[in-house]
Amino acid sequence: MNWQIELRRISKVFDERVVLRDISATVTAPGAWTILGPNGSGKSTLLRIIAGLLTPTEGEVLYLYNGERLTAHQRRQSVGMVAPDIALYRPLTALENLRFFARARGLPVQDSDLLRWLERVQLRSRAHDPVASFSTGMVQRLKLLTALVHRPSVLLLDEPGSNLDEAGMEFIRETVREQAQHGIVIIATNDTRELGYGEPLVRLGA
């Protein structure tokens, strides 16, 4: 398997404010990389551009598999992302959220499979509770599961450790370690606990 993501001269301007200027980088699977920088430096914007949620003002992001460029649909099937501003459906239960994201991605999953997944992040006992009743740390763990349920080749994490306790952080470390063995992980962070998760890919200024 030969996954590659190429960032070609990415710039992003919001109104007249330049957030990213001429960013180029290449990552090849397997491995983990970090996007570093202080608050407001554009880490989240760059990660959203890589995920395809934002269009760069200039430049492009290429997803390549064995040298072949992926279509938008293939890219969607290959990417999982967790970010603070990407929410789950709060009136639905943990199991219903997980079931929706699995089925939307075309996975023929059974509830028993999903319950096993919830077990991994200590949410099995809360599977039938609405997400609105969850703590922020529990929501973060569930977001990780929804990003992983389709076993993505590319995992994008924006401040993944926010609101997590030590057990949650251990799950992140384990997930990053596993993902980095067969795919690509890109982590946007300025949390000192997460700096060692991968090699620096881009350092952004304020």
Partner: protein, 228 residues
């Protein structure tokens, strides 16, 4: 894990999720049913025989009620994803076509449900004579489907706008007016005309044509709007 691809299963997943959310929150159902039932009851008491209001006026009033009930509830399907910050979760997992078709299915079924409650109540209270029941049902099904398509399309366009309330009204007017007028004409034919099907053939063709044009056109526009 094996995985099926394509927008059909995506659309059904979105449709099922939206119904589950609606049954939990009752945001759209509350707005639609409250508006429709109140309007029909008010019209029923005000215009019931022997008020002498002609059937032409009653046909127009029926569709005005259905249209405003649709506007009250159906425009919310995209807005709610933006307001609850779940839109990006959808963008990551589902293709624009899957999202649009899922939301359109949801709105269409909601609209049919609305008509199922409103129309018999309206006929009962206003004592409207229906000469061709089969034509009337056909006009209601096609008219409500066309209005669901129109409100879904406009709802998708305005979801990200900050002044979405005003924008929805402005954009809905030209988009929803043609099917509304045709549905009123077809309803009048079903209620009054002897050769009702012959009179309403053009109306039905316009409604079907409207649906066949607006759905693909909306899909084309939606791909660009939804992406950013």
């Amino acid at each position: 894990m094996n995985r099926s691809s394509g927008w059909v299963h995506e659309a059904f997943a979105v449709f099922a999720k939206d119904w589950l959310l609606e049954l939990r929150t009752r945001v759209a159902l509350g707005a639609v049913v409250l508006f429709a039932v109140t309007s029909v009851m008010a019209s029923g008491f005000a215009l019931a025989p022997p008020s002498g209001v002609p059937a032409e006026v009653k046909a127009a009033l029926l569709w005005v009620v259905v249209f405003f009930a649709a506007v009250a509830g159906l425009s919310r399907v995209f807005v709610v994803e933006e307001e609850t910050r779940t839109a990006d979760s959808l963008r990551l997992a589902v293709s624009p076509t899957g999202v649009f078709v899922g939301k359109l299915l949801f709105n269409t079924v909601l609209m049919w449900g609305l008509c199922l409650v409103t129309v018999p109540l309206y006929l009962l209270l206003l004592e409207v004579p229906v000469r061709s029941a089969s034509l009337f049902v056909t006009v209601v099904v096609l008219g409500s489907t066309a209005l669901a398509c129109a409100t879904t399309a406009v709802g998708a366009i305005v979801a990200k706008a900050t002044t979405r309330g005003a924008l929805f009204g402005v954009l809905s007017f030209p988009v929803a007016l043609p099917p509304l007028l045709v549905a009123i004409h077809g309803t009048r034919a079903a209620w009054l005309s002897g050769g009702a099907w012959r009179v309403a053939t053009g109306d039905l063709q316009v409604l079907v044509g409207f649906i066949l044009v607006i759905v693909p056109a909306s899909l084309l526009v939606f791909e660009h709007i939804w992406s950013e």
